[in-house]
């Protein structure tokens, strides 16, 4: 190795370590804060548990013991909304993506073909959600969907669908058609070929759509804030609300925040390749 190469390597690792620190430190801080007594927070930064302060698990105990019902209720709300919307998005998205990949559409009034339709679908994802605040409020009040799981699931499915269709269309475009063609020749129906042959072959695509739909819905803030007020409140709203109701109790908020974040982060770590694949397909094939 030449000197130049060595320096190059050093610079690379320096950048990598700096950025790793920037990425990890907030998570570390979140966790250690959740182990601090209030005094250890307000008396300036303490960094290492057991070394410069005595860690305590009492905030976690409070969260999962005393406040168990509240915590679980909101966690469950998030889980229901995210899972429900995930299944709907995967199913509807796969159908839409399959249609756009295998058939020719032509919509006379605007002379739209598949590409135009696909573009119209993805463009819905980028509309500012603020546009829907008033109509959704009125519509949901009228239909009695305010503060219900169904209401959240419907809203989340609406904003997950464009991305789901987009990813699945790209996926099906790369999937060879021989298998389904031969099944069709053998007398299978289109629907049969889709559900029995195409869907099982598309697991990677379906998984990445599922992750995205789940994570988007899990993290979503605006619709949840607008459409829930008590029964169906999700984790992000619960966390954001800590601000007003309890003053700023960093130790408790940290524990609560970690509860909301850890499941998604773990999922992300284990299924990272699907995320990469989905995002790249979603952004680059546009």
């Amino acid at each position: 190795m030449t000197l130049k190469k060595v320096i190059q390597k050093l610079v690379i690792y320096l950048i990598l370590l700096t950025w790793s620190f920037i990425v990890i430190f907030p998570f570390y801080w979140l966790f250690t804060t959740s182990l601090k007594q209030p005094l250890n927070v307000s008396r300036g930064p303490k960094y290492v548990p057991t070394w410069d302060y005595e860690p305590t698990w009492e905030h976690w105990e409070y969260l999962f013991d005393e406040q168990k019902d509240t915590t679980w209720r909101h966690f469950r709300n998030s889980l229901i909304a995210a899972t429900g919307s995930m299944f709907l998005s995967v199913f509807i998205g796969a159908m839409g993506g399959y249609g756009l990949s295998r058939f020719q559409y032509y919509w006379k009034p605007l002379k739209w073909r598949n590409d135009n339709i696909a573009f119209w679908i993805i463009s819905q994802r980028f509309l500012p959600p603020a546009l829907f605040v008033v109509p959704f409020l009125l519509l949901y009040t009228k239909l009695d969907l305010i503060d219900t799981h169904i209401g959240l699931i419907i809203a989340y499915t609406m904003f997950n669908i464009p991305f789901a269709v987009w990813i699945m269309r790209d996926f099906f475009n790369q999937l060879p058609t021989e298998m389904e063609d031969s099944a069709l020749v053998d007398g299978a129906t289109r629907w049969g070929a889709f559900t029995r042959i195409v869907m099982p072959l598309s697991t990677p695509g379906l998984v990445s759509v599922a992750i995205f739909s789940f994570v988007f819905s899990w993290n979503e803030f605006l619709y949840a804030l607008m459409l829930t007020n008590f029964d169906a409140i999700t984790m992000p709203i619960l966390i954001a609300g800590q601000n007003n109701t309890r003053g700023v109790q960093w130790w408790f908020i940290s524990a609560l925040t970690l509860t909301a974040v850890v499941p998604v982060i773990l999922m992300g770590l284990f299924l990272q390749r699907f995320i990469t694949r989905g995002l790249v397909a979603g952004a680059l094939k546009g």
Partner: protein
């Protein structure tokens, strides 16, 4: 692609079953989007030219005060009358103008910061080194975090008294032997708070930029670089002549996606500053939200949301025009 083009002239093909099935496959998507996206959008436009409010229209309330009843046309139990007041209000509302300026600040500065750092990290991650896939996974972490959680964490990091950053600043000022310790009003001063909000948003979304740009870099074939190196090009020239031009389409895509996403910013601001001090760090989405939910002024909220839509469209159009301009001038200089 090929399949699509070869049959472009015959819109209706295939068996009868296929002609029915293709509609079945696409209709759930289209129906859902028509019902929950297009219809609310048109409805919103309608509401924006009315004086609709929570619990009746303004006209009705004024009439009630004067002791008579006004008949507005009823729709979904909401009565209203037509007015253009909302749109004239757009030009007079000081708070709205601040919110619009803030939103543009978040979008432009945020996209710039995220693109530059994201690109730099993508280039680093594209090198050969030990532990590459580990770092790639690690760098993705912030993206998975709930924005509200990222905002709280940011608030803890940027607290001007008890945060590690404040601590470091204190140590630096002690080391410099300054009489006054450096205290940065990260979230309490308007100008600082705007920057802090952008920093938190960037911490969360730089991974997205990095991920996509890295995929773009990996798609550039190695032999282009080899050929240029044989011709004696240095690293900077390689970047300027090959990497950057070839990455232009990918760059345009990520910038556009992030830009459009930042236009929606609300959660980070709600948690960190609550729009304050006063309403000086508010974004448009946040303002629309408080007009609709806190003040209950539906008509005006709808009008502002249309203004936001126009801003978004202008942003996208101008940006795409710039990209096209850059691309054609590249081609011209290359030939």
């Amino acid at each position: 692609m090929l399949r699509r083009q070869s049959q472009a002239e015959q819109p209706e093909r295939g068996t009868r079953e296929d002609r029915i099935m293709k509609r079945v496959f696409l209709s759930p998507t289209v129906a859902l989007l028509l019902a929950l996206s297009i219809f609310p959008m048109i409805w919103s436009l309608g509401i924006s030219i009315t004086d609709m409010q929570r619990g009746g229209s303004t006209t009705q309330r004024e009439a009630a005060v004067e002791g008579r009843t006004a008949e507005g046309a009823g729709f979904l139990g909401q009565s209203y009358s037509i007015t253009t007041r909302n749109y004239s209000q757009l030009f007079k509302d000081e708070r709205l103008h601040i919110a619009a300026r803030n939103t543009l600040f978040y979008v432009i500065v945020g996209v710039a910061v995220q693109y530059l750092i994201g690109f730099a990290l993508a280039i680093v991650l594209n090198q050969e080194f030990f532990g590459r896939s580990f770092f790639r996974t690690l760098f993705l972490l912030p993206m998975m975090m709930t924005p509200v959680a990222a905002a709280y964490t940011g608030r803890m990091m940027f607290d001007s008294r008890v945060s590690p950053i404040a601590h470091v600043l204190r140590m630096v000022s002690r080391w410099l032997e300054r009489d006054k310790t450096i205290v940065a009003p990260w979230l309490t001063d308007t100008d600082w708070a705007r920057v802090t909000i952008v920093l938190i948003d960037s911490w969360q979304w730089i991974p997205f930029m990095t991920l996509i740009l890295l995929a773009g870099l990996q798609a550039i074939p190695d032999d282009i670089y080899e050929a240029a190196r044989v011709d004696g090009a240095n690293a900077l020239q390689l970047f300027r002549r090959i990497t950057f031009p070839l990455m232009l389409p990918v760059s345009a895509t990520v910038i556009l996606i992030r830009g459009l996403e930042i236009f929606k910013i609300i959660d980070i601001i709600v948690v960190t500053t609550g729009g304050g001090p006063g309403s000086s760090t508010e974004s448009l989405t946040m303002y629309i939200f408080s007009v609709a939910l806190t003040f209950g002024n539906y008509g005006y909220a709808a009008a502002i949301s249309y203004m936001l839509l126009v801003l978004v469209i202008i942003f996208a159009t101008v940006f795409l025009a710039l990209v096209r301009l850059a691309q054609t001038s590249r081609v011209r200089t290359a030939t």
